[in-house]
């Protein structure tokens, strides 16, 4: 279970407060969606979950399976099952996709006390999982994300997720940049990972994604706080009414 308690976050080098008291609980087996206007702090929340240093937690706590993760390094969190699919996946020139995937997969397996995969084992798993996401293994011989289209980058994130087998999946606008068919493929990839011991937090602007990945709860994040929580029908309401109602009462 993910428990976010009264989370206050500011940018490390500045005084700008971005998150101003987030309270959120995502039980295992559930998928929660976060929606909210541009600049409301959704990606900030995602980064803080993954442990990015540019942000400073000034108050509150984040517990994953009852344990605070705030003091953990990003790679420790990954080993504990935390995974963030980036809104803007980065390009890593000079590091081949397969090398990257294998290093990452074996690093977390080792930390989790699982046997590391040998090259043939790894190749078998990659081929199978990449295939399901319509990713050509040839593409993974190229440097990570370099020269990939927007949609290819997003699929590559989901492949990483499939390889690392996380238990807390945070997807930051994974749908943006995907064409209609790719959206289906990626959603199927995500749905395949839904399980009673996984929690998922899906950040999106569009109801469209939530037709494929049906959420248990929908939260509205605006002005650094969760302003409203509801069932999947809340996404449909937002699609119609926008975020105007959350404009004034913030901060």
């Amino acid at each position: 279970m993910l428990e976010i308690k009264n989370l206050h976050v500011k940018i490390a080098d500045e005084d700008t407060q971005i998150l101003k008291g987030i309270d959120l609980v995502v039980p295992k087996g559930e998928v929660h969606a976060i929606m909210g206007p541009n600049g409301s702090g959704k990606s900030t929340l995602a980064y803080v979950l993954a442990g990015r240093e540019d942000y400073e937690v000034t108050d509150g706590d984040i517990l994953w399976n009852g344990e605070s993760i705030l003091e953990m390094e990003p790679d420790e969190r990954a080993a504990k099952g935390v995974f963030l699919a980036f809104q803007y996946p980065m390009e890593i020139p000079g590091v081949a996709g397969l090398t990257f995937l294998r290093t990452a997969t074996n690093a977390v397996r080792k930390k989790r006390g699982q046997a590391e995969l040998t090259t043939p084992e790894f190749m078998k798993v990659v081929k199978e999982r990449a295939g399901k996401l319509n990713i050509d293994v040839e593409m993974l011989k190229r440097p990570v994300n370099v020269g990939f289209s927007g949609g290819e980058k997003k699929r590559s994130e989901i492949l990483q997720m499939a390889m690392l087998e996380p238990t807390l999946c945070v997807l930051d606008e994974t749908d943006s940049g995907l064409d209609i068919d790719a959206l289906k493929v990626v959603s199927e990839g995500v749905n395949a990972l839904r399980s009673p011991d996984r929690a998922m937090l899906v950040i999106t602007h569009y109801q469209r994604l939530l037709d494929h990945i049906v959420p248990d709860r929908v939260h509205v994040l605006a002005h650094g706080k969760i302003q409203k929580t509801g069932g999947k029908e809340l996404a449909l309401e937002l699609e119609k009414s926008g975020y105007a109602e959350f404009g004034e009462k913030a901060a």
Partner: protein, 443 residues
């Protein structure tokens, strides 16, 4: 130069020491006369210092404090197994090898049978056979440098390679210079490589040390390279030593029509390394790809100084140098490209990049383009930057621990330069060598 300047201890040491050893240096009277002339020139010019433009960032006079005793006819006992250890990952390659220990050729450690069809002879053998001063020859422009003059005065040995017209030698020929024994010495070697018309070869010069060798030493190596029409040479130099040596290298390269020259310098673990190279396009449509990777930590200093001289039309030159600088290491890149009036349609590109792993590291990069022809494409660039923290976060968010993430990014950075080495076993061995360096172990 200014004769009135006070001589340093090292300058006096080299100059005065010469008289004591001149009779023990190999070669007949002509060679002795050449050596005398050279030491006279060295005595007048002294070691180069920062007021000499090409040595602006590498004040050799200040750094090279002592004249170590010259290594002459060295007989330090080592085995082939020692040489293999000294070679690190390169030792796995089954290749023709010529081994010089402290500057002297060792027949019993060498094996040139695999280089069939190609003449590979030690300089000392040629001198003993009565070869005259011509075997020392480099172009006047190169010879007048005082570090080359010092080399001419003291060179004890070296390797002379001749690849006859039309011959292709697939196996790389290794010229292995090892330091051995407990005595810090000055070892000077003189090498020549000629690649005949349409001939093709790979030559690898390695500078390393056997276990237990003193960490100190001074090395000077001058190599004259001639590529005949359509000749192809992959020429690689690998310095992988123990950290305190002074390594002075000078390559003087002449390319005939349509020659294709690929040079690569790997430099790690040298207290001070100066990799100087001049490439002269003496024929039209010649190509040179000059690249390198340098790795330096603590107070190490690696200087790459290139002069690419396009004299005739249709020449292509590519330069890519990448350095990793830790602690208060310093990297220097000076790349001068001259395009003379007749060198129309020259295509020259240059890039020098340093990865700064510490705030105390320094990278000085000085590209210089002198273009006298109008129809040319020339460009250069230089960057120096720290590891990208966003990329580090990305790797760590995927579970890769900090040290491994750093190593992956550094490797990918130098890997781009090492990829220039076309021979796959050599490339893999160099990559492995770089990884060993990055882990902080001595090879």
């Amino acid at each position: 130069m200014n004769v009135a300047v006070m001589k340093t201890k090292a300058e006096t040491g080299f100059t005065e020491g010469f008289e004591r050893v001149v009779d023990t240096l190999p070669g007949g009277p002509n060679v002795a006369a050449l050596r005398r002339e050279a030491i006279g020139q060295f005595a007048a010019d002294g070691l180069p210092h920062r007021r000499v433009e090409e040595w602006k960032y590498t004040d050799l006079r200040n750094v090279m404090k002592d004249a170590l005793p010259p290594a002459i006819g060295d007989a330090t006992r080592i085995t082939i197994a020692d040489v293999i250890v000294a070679l690190g990952p390169l030792g796995r390659m089954e290749v023709p090898r010529v081994v010089l220990v402290n500057g002297s050729y060792r027949k019993e450690l060498s094996n040139t049978e695999a280089a069939a069809g190609v003449s590979v002879v030690a300089l000392s053998t040629l001198l003993a056979g009565g070869a005259d001063a011509k075997v020392f020859g480099v172009e006047a422009e190169c010879a007048r440098q005082s570090v080359v003059a010092l080399n001419t005065a003291y060179a004890t040995d070296g390797v002379v390679v001749d690849v006859p017209d039309g011959v292709t030698l697939e196996a790389p020929v290794f010229i292995v210079h090892v330091r051995a024994g407990g005595v810090a010495q000055f070892a000077a070697s003189r090498n020549r490589v000629r690649v005949g018309k349409g001939a093709r070869a790979t030559i690898v010069e390695v500078f390393a040390h056997v276990p237990g060798a003193t960490p100190d030493g001074q090395q000077s190596a001058v190599t004259a390279v001639d590529l005949d029409e359509g000749g192809q040479l992959a020429h690689i130099k690998i310095v992988n030593d123990a950290g305190r040596i002074t390594h002075l290298s000078n390559w003087d390269v002449t390319l005939a029509k349509s020659a294709d020259y690929r040079a690569f310098h790997y430099t790690a673990g040298a207290g001070l390394a100066r990799n100087q190279m001049r490439v002269v396009y003496a024929g039209a449509n010649a190509k040179a790809d000059i690249s390198g990777a340098f790795l330096a930590r603590v107070g190490e200093h690696v200087d790459t100084t290139l002069l690419v001289d396009h004299a005739l039309p249709g020449g292509v030159s590519r330069e890519l140098f990448k350095g990793v600088l830790q602690d208060h290491a310093r990297g220097v890149f000076q790349g001068k490209v001259i395009v003379r009036p007749d060198a129309q349609k020259t295509d020259g590109k240059q890039m020098a990049q340093a990865l700064m792993l510490s705030e105390d590291a320094e990278f000085d990069s000085k590209p210089e383009l002198e273009i006298y022809a109008d129809d040319v494409v020339c460009g250069h660039g230089s960057t120096s930057a720290a590891l990208d923290t966003d990329l580090l976060f990305y790797l760590r968010a995927r579970g890769i621990p900090l040290e491994a993430a750093r190593a992956l990014l550094i490797q990918s950075f130098v890997g781009e330069a090492i990829d220039k080495v076309e021979n796959p076993s050599l490339r893999d061995a160099l990559m492995e060598q770089a990884q060993i360096w990055l882990l902080g172990h001595e090879a």
